[in-house]
């Protein structure tokens, strides 16, 4: 689907990260990890074409970025007071394919209804956005991503504000997408259980980033080295995982 080679990321003359290499194929889930300010969101923006690359190259296997690119970003600028119903929000995922004066027709509408059912929000379809809980809003945004029906889906901290049961439901959706052969890039702000499902990881921060199979990349030494966590935190985690049976170790 897409690979990056020696990417230099940043704004204007300020490079946030350099030497970023990765590759993402159809059906894969790539986790992107790093401390705040390590350039995760800038990487996403560069892939989306919002921020120009300062160096390096992105190779698209199809020659050009797919359209649309499925995207679910952080909600800091999201306006929940906008007068819109849940079903309308889901339907906005189908707007990219429409001409200027063309109305969103029955197909988009049906896609939106089906997507809401998939995320378990059918009962809330006609609720205005401001009446949703944080978890419901995230489900609605996943529904919009379903309606986008994109080959490449980028999720930026998709579980930042949701409870465990919502996270589990949404994770199941992500796995569905991967099984359908879509390429997924998931930016994560913590080392959650989600990582178990990611085929590869990109750890960003302090100099060159590290890319590879999840278990090889996310070792305590590397996490400390790239500034993701302090040495004593890593020691604590290492002690805990060697004391317990280590639920993931057997599979690695």
């Amino acid at each position: 689907m897409l690979s990056g080679e020696g990417l230099v990321l940043g704004y204007g003359n300020d490079a946030v990260a350099g030497g970023v290499d990765f590759s993402l194929s159809a059906g894969e889930i790539l986790a992107v990890i790093g401390y705040n300010g390590s350039g995760k969101s800038t990487l996403v923006k560069s892939i989306l074409g919002v921020t120009p690359l300062l160096g390096g190259r992105l190779h698209w296997s199809a020659g050009a970025p797919p359209a649309p690119i499925g995207y679910l970003g952080q909600l800091s600028e999201f306006d929940r007071r906008f007068p819109m119903r849940v079903i309308d929000l889901a339907a906005t995922g189908g707007w990219a394919g429409l001409g200027f004066f063309q109305g969103a027709g029955r197909t988009t509408r049906q896609a939106a209804e089906a997507a809401l059912e998939q995320v378990g929000l059918s009962d809330a379809a006609t609720l205005p956005l401001h009446k949703l809980s944080a978890g419901q809003l995230q489900r609605a945004l996943f529904a919009r991503t379903i309606v986008q029906d994109a080959r490449l889906i980028i999720l930026d901290e998709p579980f930042a504000a949701v409870d465990q049961s919502t996270e589990a439901d949404l994770m199941a959706l992500i796995l569905d997408w991967s099984r359908q052969g879509r390429a997924l890039m998931v930016v994560l702000h913590n080392l959650s259980a989600v990582l178990e499902h990611c085929s590869a990881a990109l750890l960003m921060g302090r100099g060159r980033s590290v890319y590879g199979p999840t278990r090889e990349v996310l070792t305590p030494e590397r996490l400390v080295d790239r500034g993701y966590m302090a040495a004593d935190q890593a020691a604590l985690i290492a002690a805990a995982s060697s004391a317990g049976s280590g639920k993931g170790d057997g599979r690695a």
Binding site: E77, F78, F82, P83, T92, F100, L121, S122, Q136
Partner: protein
């Protein structure tokens, strides 16, 4: 009681406020939803020096005054965005400074020029003395606005509700934003002769705000804003006709203000007084952490 309909100037005025409301409703709704209510006010003042300068240069010509106003209004909007980008000050501070300078400059120009233009009419409107040229301006402005809004509606909605997502899907955000600002200034200028430079923005903001108290979807919000705007226009005109010392602008905005108060008191997203009195379960609009379908 309806004897005022017999006057041609009154029929013109009625036509003007209805057509004006038609264009101002969608623009006003987005101005409110995009948190630009005060910026709209600022831009209406910013347009004054352009109009005054055009008047000083070319006399009382609708076309040149419209162009002058558009250039000055958009100039201040663009300049304040630019200043916010290249300096430390935020956009509201630079915009407030620039529009105050523009307003002062405009009034200065008008006063130096002499008494040919009646300053009170300029500031508060004289909807009862509209020329045919102004009616054409209002009609053109509304036509352009409705076409323009239909063209940019979807990206505008996305940009307003989820700007991060909108940027991820389109490279043309700045174009949509600029087109919208042009429509805002165009409507302000179309409203100037009828409502005055101080009041024109009121017919955009007040009906849109009142309308939001009643509904939770965009289309009904725009339709209701139009109904509120046109209704306030008609009642305000009648009021201004009967009390002939009061200019039309304040009359129309005061009626709109009454509509706002009623909406605030009884709208489902306002205080919802009737709902509370009758003991109907009120779901407070923003504190509510919904009970429906939390873990479906």
């Amino acid at each position: 009681m309806l004897e005022f309909l017999e006057f041609a100037f009154m029929r013109k005025a009625i036509l003007a406020v209805i057509v004006l409301s038609l264009g101002m409703a969608p623009v006003g709704c987005f101005l409110v939803l995009r948190r630009l209510s005060l910026a709209g006010e600022a831009m209406s003042h910013a347009a004054i020096p352009g109009i005054a300068l055009a008047y000083a240069l070319a006399g009382l010509s609708v076309l040149s005054m419209t162009l002058g106003g558009l250039i000055a209004g958009l100039g201040v909007a663009l300049l304040s965005t630019l200043l916010a980008r290249v300096t430390l000050l935020r956009e509201d501070a630079s915009m407030a400074t620039l529009y105050l300078l523009a307003l002062a400059g405009g009034i200065f120009l008008l006063s130096v020029r002499g008494t040919a233009v009646n300053l009170e009419g300029f500031l508060f409107g004289n909807v009862l003395g509209l020329s045919d040229g102004t009616l054409v301006l209002i009609g053109s402005s509304t036509t352009l606005t409705l076409l323009g809004m239909a063209l940019i509606l979807r990206p505008l909605v996305l940009q307003t509700v989820d700007p991060v997502f909108a940027r991820s899907q389109s490279r043309h955000g700045w174009l949509i934003r600029s087109l919208f600002m042009i429509l805002v200034v165009l409507n302000l200028i179309a409203g100037f002769r009828a409502l005055g430079t101080l009041m024109a923005v009121g017919l955009m903001i007040v009906p849109a705000t009142a309308s939001r108290y009643w509904v939770n979807a965009l289309t009904p919000m725009v339709v209701l804003a139009f109904a509120f705007g046109a209704g306030s226009g008609l009642l305000g005109l009648a009021l201004s006709f009967w009390l002939d010392s009061v200019p039309s602008g304040p009359c129309i905005i005061l009626v709109a203000g009454l509509v706002f108060l009623v909406s605030l008191a009884f709208g489902q997203n306002g205080l919802d007084l009737l709902g509370r009195l009758s003991g109907r379960r009120t779901r407070s609009t923003l504190s509510n952490k919904s009970k429906i379908g939390k873990d479906p």
